[in-house]
Amino acid sequence: MMLQVEDLHVYYGAIKALKGINFHLEKGEIVALIGANGAGKTTTLNTLSGILRARQGKIHFLGEDISQTPAEEIVRKGIIHVPEGRKIFATLSVMENLEIGAYTVTDKGQIARNIEMVFNRFPRLKERQNQLGGTLSGGEQQMLAIARGLMTNPSLILLDEPSMGLAPVIVEQIFEIIQEINDQGTSVLLVEQNAQMALSIADRAYVFETGMVTLEDEAHKLLENPLVIEAYLGGH
């Protein structure tokens, strides 16, 4: 098992955001976390990547408990978090954003190969490599955020709302790319409001409600589950 989360409790001050979350992810899987705003999906990702601290519970990654590991160390263990809202370094060029993505990679040859690899996957970024990150369109920024995440050759990539604020045709592209990344061996933990898209590419999914997991199943079964259809797929 690649990732196992056990009884995770996270607080914002006195407010309890996660009330004992359990889930797991096998190597090579795409697992989606779906649910409404404020259900705790982003909080979960932030805790996995070390930006937030769990008050209680364990996060096992490749057999090691990382719940108390600082964010900058977790990156070195092979988890990369592509945050909500993309969080491109707007004052750095596209190329510099990628170089910062490879901050933990010490081998210069490896960095050059990875830049080549992401430029092959995202030709638009190659065209715009000298532009400032802040001048890119929303879709390009999302591509840059994913590309930046791939610069460390992660074994697990956490994607937070990759479809947020993007035109449907761009969303299609982004999800194709996620599928490709997964086909090449990277496991994906995907947080999405767009449950339809998320379930269409995921292997399994967990439904979050007010800080708890209320439902878990294989993605294609959830797509047909009346409760899920009613609450998250617009009732059709």
Binding site: A71, I80, P83, F89
Partner: protein, 374 residues
Amino acid sequence: MRASTATSKSILLEYIIKRRWLGNGLLILVGLFAVYRLAVELINNPILFFQQVINGLQLGFVYALIALGYTMVYGIVRLINFAHGDVFMVGAFISFYGVTRLQLHTWVSSVFPSFPPVAAQIIGAVTVVLLAMVTCSVLAFTIERVAYKPLRNAPRISALITAIGVSFFLEYFGALSFVFSPNFITYKRPFDVTTWYLNKGGIASLQSGQAIPPGSVIFSNIFVIIVISSILLMLALQYIVRNTKVGKAMRAAAYDKPTARLMGINVDGIISVTFGIGAAFAGAAGMLYAIAFPQVFFWMGIIPGLKAFVAAVLGGIGSIPGAFVGALIMGQAEVLSAAYISTPMRDAIAFSILIIVLLIRPTGIFGEPTREKA
């Protein structure tokens, strides 16, 4: 079309109602008057004017080195590090002891007597400045760890007040007789001063006791050293910030700390490095300032520190080119007002610039509108 005229009309109306035109108009009048006065002085006595510009450049470059530390630290932790001027003072004292106690400026000629004397002198002076820079870096690194890092998540005002406390600590700790000294001390330069004069006949060196020939501008090797070493340091900084991994990490962390951590950047380490680099520049500035005005004193950091702070605000705090441009403007403003208005007025004018900038354009020349971030 109609909509746009309506908006411009209402903006104009608002402008008149809020009486912004009063402030801006007054400022433009003051600016025009200053330009007019300077133009008259330039025509009446161009030699005196150019002499002042040279003096202003010398001062401005020293301010630039100090202002860089303010602006870099502000850029990454949003803290006005009021102890920065006192780090500059420590740099001046360390270089003083490097010359008087350790005789570092002569080590080359005493170890390798056959070494060419000019090169030996340059290496010696560089050794002294490196000692001051390294000491100041270590000092700032310690200050950051002890005083500022524990307050990283506290309200900003706490860190600001702490910075003022650190500033007082450095001043009065330095004033202790077993640390530095409570008295003014004459600074011993690590080299002899040579003065040149420049006029229509070209450049020639001024012999000691020789009167300055009429119609010439004078400058010394101090001016040359300050300008060259400041430019070299600033090019080095530009290189570090633009091209190195640490520099890119500094810019990333200045923009967004949580995301920088997600990239594997140790943000606390990068903040320490930023403090260290800023302090190294202040240390170098301390030595250059003491060479230009050969006297060291435990309060010597206050006024240059504040003026460099004004320079950083004028240029747009957080912006490195802004600090440089702001400092050159401050140097000129100070020297020209001392020459053409009155010497005691120069500080009043320097700080009036701060007030005017904060009133009219708080983001400074190169500043972007501030983004409030967590």
